[in-house]
Protein backbone atom coordinates (compact mmCIF):
# COMPACT_ATOMS: atom_id res chain seq x y z
CA UNK A 1 0.00 0.00 0.00
CA UNK A 2 2.77 2.39 -0.78
CA UNK A 3 1.71 5.72 -2.24
CA UNK A 4 3.66 5.06 -5.43
CA UNK A 5 1.29 2.26 -6.46
CA UNK A 6 -1.48 4.80 -6.91
CA UNK A 7 -1.83 6.37 -10.33
CA UNK A 8 -0.38 9.83 -10.55
CA UNK A 9 -3.88 10.99 -11.45
CA UNK A 10 -4.89 10.16 -7.91
CA UNK A 11 -2.14 12.23 -6.32
CA UNK A 12 -2.63 15.42 -8.30
CA UNK A 13 -4.69 18.18 -6.79
CA UNK A 14 -5.37 20.96 -9.28
CA UNK A 15 -8.39 22.28 -7.36
CA UNK A 16 -6.44 22.40 -4.11
CA UNK A 17 -8.71 19.76 -2.59
CA UNK A 18 -7.19 16.25 -2.32
CA UNK A 19 -8.88 13.74 -4.66
CA UNK A 20 -10.25 11.68 -1.79
CA UNK A 21 -12.05 14.62 -0.24
CA UNK A 22 -13.13 15.90 -3.64
CA UNK A 23 -14.85 12.64 -4.53
CA UNK A 24 -16.49 12.59 -1.10
CA UNK A 25 -18.04 15.98 -1.80
CA UNK A 26 -19.35 14.75 -5.13
CA UNK A 27 -20.80 11.65 -3.52
CA UNK A 28 -22.54 13.84 -0.96
CA UNK A 29 -23.86 16.08 -3.75
CA UNK A 30 -25.33 13.07 -5.55
CA UNK A 31 -26.86 11.81 -2.30
CA UNK A 32 -28.53 15.18 -1.72
CA UNK A 33 -30.61 14.74 -4.86
CA UNK A 34 -31.49 11.13 -4.06
CA UNK A 35 -32.73 11.94 -0.57
CA UNK A 36 -34.08 15.23 -1.90
CA UNK A 37 -36.27 13.46 -4.45
CA UNK A 38 -37.68 11.08 -1.86
CA UNK A 39 -38.24 13.84 0.70
CA UNK A 40 -39.92 16.02 -1.94
CA UNK A 41 -42.35 13.22 -2.71
CA UNK A 42 -43.00 12.60 0.98
CA UNK A 43 -43.48 16.25 1.93
CA UNK A 44 -45.88 16.84 -0.94
CA UNK A 45 -48.01 13.88 0.03
CA UNK A 46 -47.81 14.72 3.70
CA UNK A 47 -49.06 18.26 3.10
CA UNK A 48 -51.81 17.00 0.82
CA UNK A 49 -52.97 14.27 3.19
CA UNK A 50 -53.77 15.63 6.66
CA UNK A 51 -55.18 12.21 7.58
CA UNK A 52 -51.64 10.77 7.63
CA UNK A 53 -51.16 12.61 10.95
CA UNK A 54 -53.09 9.82 12.62
CA UNK A 55 -50.57 7.28 11.39
CA UNK A 56 -47.66 9.56 12.26
CA UNK A 57 -48.94 9.71 15.83
CA UNK A 58 -48.08 6.01 16.21
CA UNK A 59 -44.37 6.54 15.69
CA UNK A 60 -42.20 6.40 18.77
CA UNK A 61 -40.89 9.94 19.24
CA UNK A 62 -38.61 8.85 22.09
CA UNK A 63 -36.90 6.20 20.00
CA UNK A 64 -36.37 8.84 17.31
CA UNK A 65 -35.00 11.31 19.83
CA UNK A 66 -32.60 8.79 21.34
CA UNK A 67 -31.43 7.87 17.86
CA UNK A 68 -30.82 11.54 17.08
CA UNK A 69 -28.73 11.75 20.22
CA UNK A 70 -26.80 8.61 19.24
CA UNK A 71 -26.03 9.96 15.78
CA UNK A 72 -25.02 13.40 17.08
CA UNK A 73 -22.67 11.77 19.53
CA UNK A 74 -21.19 9.48 16.88
CA UNK A 75 -20.67 12.54 14.69
CA UNK A 76 -18.72 14.07 17.53
CA UNK A 77 -16.51 10.95 17.66
CA UNK A 78 -16.02 11.14 13.89
CA UNK A 79 -14.86 14.73 13.98
CA UNK A 80 -12.59 14.03 16.95
CA UNK A 81 -11.11 11.20 14.89
CA UNK A 82 -10.46 13.70 12.13
CA UNK A 83 -8.69 15.92 14.65
CA UNK A 84 -6.59 12.99 15.83
CA UNK A 85 -5.72 12.09 12.24
CA UNK A 86 -4.65 15.67 11.61
CA UNK A 87 -2.36 15.30 14.62
CA UNK A 88 -0.93 12.13 12.98
CA UNK A 89 -2.26 10.04 15.86
CA UNK A 90 -3.55 7.05 13.85
CA UNK A 91 -4.34 4.69 16.74
CA UNK A 92 -6.42 7.35 18.50
CA UNK A 93 -8.25 8.14 15.27
CA UNK A 94 -8.94 4.42 14.84
CA UNK A 95 -10.34 4.11 18.36
CA UNK A 96 -12.62 7.08 17.78
CA UNK A 97 -13.75 5.73 14.42
CA UNK A 98 -14.63 2.39 16.00
CA UNK A 99 -16.62 4.31 18.59
CA UNK A 100 -18.42 6.10 15.74
CA UNK A 101 -19.21 2.79 14.09
CA UNK A 102 -20.50 1.54 17.43
CA UNK A 103 -22.84 4.55 17.42
CA UNK A 104 -24.08 3.41 14.03
CA UNK A 105 -24.70 -0.09 15.35
CA UNK A 106 -26.62 1.25 18.36
CA UNK A 107 -28.65 3.41 15.99
CA UNK A 108 -29.55 0.38 13.89
CA UNK A 109 -30.36 -1.67 16.99
CA UNK A 110 -32.80 0.97 18.23
CA UNK A 111 -34.24 1.18 14.75
CA UNK A 112 -34.69 -2.59 14.73
CA UNK A 113 -36.46 -2.50 18.08
CA UNK A 114 -38.70 0.29 16.86
CA UNK A 115 -39.60 -1.44 13.61
CA UNK A 116 -40.30 -4.70 15.41
CA UNK A 117 -42.76 -2.90 17.64
CA UNK A 118 -44.39 -1.18 14.66
CA UNK A 119 -44.75 -4.43 12.76
CA UNK A 120 -46.12 -6.24 15.84
CA UNK A 121 -48.78 -3.55 16.05
CA UNK A 122 -49.64 -4.31 12.43
CA UNK A 123 -48.02 -1.31 10.75
CA UNK A 124 -46.05 -2.70 7.82
CA UNK A 125 -44.75 -1.00 4.70
CA UNK A 126 -47.98 -1.60 2.81
CA UNK A 127 -50.26 -0.38 5.63
CA UNK A 128 -50.82 3.01 4.06
CA UNK A 129 -49.18 6.02 2.49
CA UNK A 130 -47.47 7.28 5.62
CA UNK A 131 -46.06 3.88 6.53
CA UNK A 132 -44.73 3.31 3.02
CA UNK A 133 -42.77 6.54 3.17
CA UNK A 134 -41.78 5.93 6.80
CA UNK A 135 -40.15 2.59 6.05
CA UNK A 136 -38.66 3.67 2.73
CA UNK A 137 -37.10 6.88 4.04
CA UNK A 138 -35.81 5.37 7.28
CA UNK A 139 -34.73 2.23 5.44
CA UNK A 140 -32.73 4.12 2.84
CA UNK A 141 -31.16 6.15 5.61
CA UNK A 142 -30.46 3.02 7.67
CA UNK A 143 -28.73 1.49 4.65
CA UNK A 144 -26.45 4.51 4.55
CA UNK A 145 -25.72 4.15 8.27
CA UNK A 146 -24.86 0.48 7.77
CA UNK A 147 -22.63 1.21 4.79
CA UNK A 148 -20.94 4.06 6.64
CA UNK A 149 -20.24 1.88 9.67
CA UNK A 150 -18.70 -0.89 7.57
CA UNK A 151 -16.45 1.52 5.68
CA UNK A 152 -15.58 3.21 8.95
CA UNK A 153 -14.24 -0.06 10.36
CA UNK A 154 -12.16 -0.66 7.25
CA UNK A 155 -10.72 2.86 7.42
CA UNK A 156 -10.08 2.38 11.12
CA UNK A 157 -8.07 -0.80 10.48
CA UNK A 158 -5.72 1.18 8.24
CA UNK A 159 -5.64 4.23 10.46
CA UNK A 160 -4.56 2.10 13.42
CA UNK A 161 -1.35 1.44 11.47
CA UNK A 162 -1.05 5.14 10.59
CA UNK A 163 -1.95 4.44 6.96
CA UNK A 164 -4.25 6.44 4.65
CA UNK A 165 -5.10 8.92 7.38
CA UNK A 166 -6.70 11.29 4.85
CA UNK A 167 -9.57 8.80 4.63
CA UNK A 168 -10.52 9.47 8.23
CA UNK A 169 -11.75 12.92 7.31
CA UNK A 170 -13.59 11.67 4.21
CA UNK A 171 -15.57 8.97 5.98
CA UNK A 172 -16.29 11.56 8.65
CA UNK A 173 -17.73 13.96 6.06
CA UNK A 174 -19.97 11.20 4.78
CA UNK A 175 -21.06 10.34 8.31
CA UNK A 176 -21.94 13.95 9.10
CA UNK A 177 -24.03 14.07 5.94
CA UNK A 178 -25.92 10.96 7.05
CA UNK A 179 -26.37 12.67 10.39
CA UNK A 180 -27.82 15.79 8.74
CA UNK A 181 -30.29 13.67 6.78
CA UNK A 182 -31.47 12.17 10.04
CA UNK A 183 -31.72 15.62 11.63
CA UNK A 184 -34.41 16.34 9.03
CA UNK A 185 -36.01 12.90 9.04
CA UNK A 186 -36.55 13.06 12.78
CA UNK A 187 -39.00 15.99 12.78
CA UNK A 188 -40.53 14.88 9.46
CA UNK A 189 -41.33 11.34 10.54
CA UNK A 190 -41.67 11.59 14.31
CA UNK A 191 -42.72 15.08 15.35
CA UNK A 192 -44.88 16.62 12.61
CA UNK A 193 -48.44 15.51 13.07
Amino acid sequence: MSATAKPIANTRSVTGIPTARLITWWVIASEIVIFGGLLTAYIMHRLGHPEWAASAAHTNTWAGAINTFVLLTSSLCAVLAHKAADAQDGPRAARLLRLTALGGVIFLAIKGFEWTTDIREGFVISSGGFWSYYYTLAGLHGLHVLAGAVIMLIVAADAAKNRELQRVECIGLYWHFVDIVWIFLFPLLYIAR
Partner: protein
Amino acid sequence: MTNESHVHHPNYVKIWAVLVALLVISVAGSLSSMRAVVLVAAFGVAIVKAYLVAKNFMHVTVEKRWVPYLLVAMIAFVVILFAGVAPDVMRHSGLHWSNDAAKQAVETGMKAATKHE
Protein backbone atom coordinates in the same frame (compact mmCIF):
# COMPACT_ATOMS: atom_id res chain seq x y z
CA MET B 1 -1.45 13.48 -0.21
CA THR B 2 -0.95 16.39 2.08
CA ASN B 3 -1.37 15.67 5.74
CA GLU B 4 -1.27 19.33 6.65
CA SER B 5 -4.51 20.21 8.34
CA HIS B 6 -6.62 22.60 6.30
CA VAL B 7 -8.89 23.46 9.20
CA HIS B 8 -8.58 24.88 12.62
CA HIS B 9 -10.23 22.50 15.09
CA PRO B 10 -12.68 24.24 17.44
CA ASN B 11 -13.88 22.78 20.72
CA TYR B 12 -16.07 20.02 19.30
CA VAL B 13 -17.52 18.91 22.62
CA LYS B 14 -19.01 22.36 23.14
CA ILE B 15 -20.71 22.24 19.73
CA TRP B 16 -21.99 18.76 20.50
CA ALA B 17 -23.47 20.08 23.77
CA VAL B 18 -25.27 22.84 21.85
CA LEU B 19 -26.63 20.26 19.39
CA VAL B 20 -27.93 18.07 22.20
CA ALA B 21 -29.54 21.11 23.85
CA LEU B 22 -31.27 21.88 20.54
CA LEU B 23 -32.46 18.30 20.33
CA VAL B 24 -34.00 18.66 23.80
CA ILE B 25 -35.75 21.84 22.64
CA SER B 26 -37.26 20.16 19.61
CA VAL B 27 -38.48 17.18 21.65
CA ALA B 28 -39.89 19.50 24.32
CA GLY B 29 -41.56 21.54 21.59
CA SER B 30 -43.21 18.41 20.23
CA LEU B 31 -45.05 17.97 23.54
CA SER B 32 -46.71 21.36 23.10
CA SER B 33 -50.30 21.40 21.95
CA MET B 34 -49.82 24.50 19.79
CA ARG B 35 -49.15 23.49 16.20
CA ALA B 36 -46.98 26.54 15.48
CA VAL B 37 -44.72 25.83 18.44
CA VAL B 38 -44.32 22.20 17.40
CA LEU B 39 -43.41 23.08 13.85
CA VAL B 40 -40.96 25.85 14.72
CA ALA B 41 -39.33 23.75 17.42
CA ALA B 42 -39.07 20.85 14.98
CA PHE B 43 -38.04 22.42 11.70
CA GLY B 44 -36.48 25.68 12.84
CA VAL B 45 -34.25 23.74 15.18
CA ALA B 46 -33.49 21.12 12.51
CA ILE B 47 -32.20 23.82 10.17
CA VAL B 48 -30.02 25.30 12.93
CA LYS B 49 -28.68 21.85 13.81
CA ALA B 50 -27.92 21.02 10.20
CA TYR B 51 -26.11 24.34 9.84
CA LEU B 52 -24.03 23.71 12.96
CA VAL B 53 -23.03 20.23 11.78
CA ALA B 54 -22.19 21.45 8.27
CA LYS B 55 -20.19 24.41 9.55
CA ASN B 56 -18.32 22.89 12.46
CA PHE B 57 -18.08 19.17 11.73
CA MET B 58 -17.91 19.24 7.92
CA HIS B 59 -16.01 22.55 7.76
CA VAL B 60 -18.05 23.61 4.74
CA THR B 61 -17.35 27.25 5.43
CA VAL B 62 -13.56 26.91 5.22
CA GLU B 63 -13.68 24.59 2.19
CA LYS B 64 -13.14 26.03 -1.31
CA ARG B 65 -16.03 28.36 -2.13
CA TRP B 66 -17.48 26.23 -4.88
CA VAL B 67 -18.11 23.27 -2.58
CA PRO B 68 -20.91 24.93 -0.62
CA TYR B 69 -22.15 26.38 -3.92
CA LEU B 70 -22.30 22.88 -5.36
CA LEU B 71 -24.25 21.56 -2.39
CA VAL B 72 -26.63 24.52 -2.48
CA ALA B 73 -27.10 24.03 -6.24
CA MET B 74 -28.17 20.43 -5.61
CA ILE B 75 -30.68 21.63 -3.03
CA ALA B 76 -31.86 24.24 -5.54
CA PHE B 77 -32.55 21.50 -8.10
CA VAL B 78 -34.65 19.69 -5.51
CA VAL B 79 -36.56 22.92 -4.83
CA ILE B 80 -37.19 23.34 -8.57
CA LEU B 81 -38.50 19.79 -8.67
CA PHE B 82 -40.80 20.56 -5.75
CA ALA B 83 -42.08 23.74 -7.40
CA GLY B 84 -42.80 21.95 -10.66
CA VAL B 85 -44.50 18.93 -9.14
CA ALA B 86 -46.43 20.41 -6.21
CA PRO B 87 -49.22 21.99 -8.32
CA ASP B 88 -50.12 18.52 -9.56
CA VAL B 89 -49.34 16.22 -6.66
CA MET B 90 -49.65 18.25 -3.49
CA ARG B 91 -52.91 19.88 -4.52
CA HIS B 92 -55.92 17.72 -5.22
CA SER B 93 -57.73 19.89 -7.70
CA GLY B 94 -56.91 22.57 -10.19
CA LEU B 95 -58.05 24.00 -13.47
CA HIS B 96 -60.41 21.44 -15.03
CA TRP B 97 -59.10 18.52 -13.03
CA SER B 98 -59.79 16.96 -9.71
CA ASN B 99 -57.97 14.17 -7.91
CA ASP B 100 -61.08 12.37 -6.68
CA ALA B 101 -59.24 9.40 -5.24
CA ALA B 102 -57.01 11.58 -3.07
CA LYS B 103 -59.94 13.72 -1.95
CA GLN B 104 -61.84 10.66 -0.94
CA ALA B 105 -58.85 9.25 0.92
CA VAL B 106 -58.52 12.49 2.88
CA GLU B 107 -62.23 12.53 3.66
CA THR B 108 -62.52 8.95 4.88
CA GLY B 109 -59.19 9.23 6.70
CA MET B 110 -60.22 12.37 8.55
CA LYS B 111 -63.58 10.83 9.43
CA ALA B 112 -61.88 7.76 10.87
CA ALA B 113 -59.43 9.94 12.79
CA THR B 114 -62.13 12.07 14.43
CA LYS B 115 -64.11 8.94 15.29
CA HIS B 116 -61.00 7.52 16.87
CA GLU B 117 -60.60 10.52 19.16
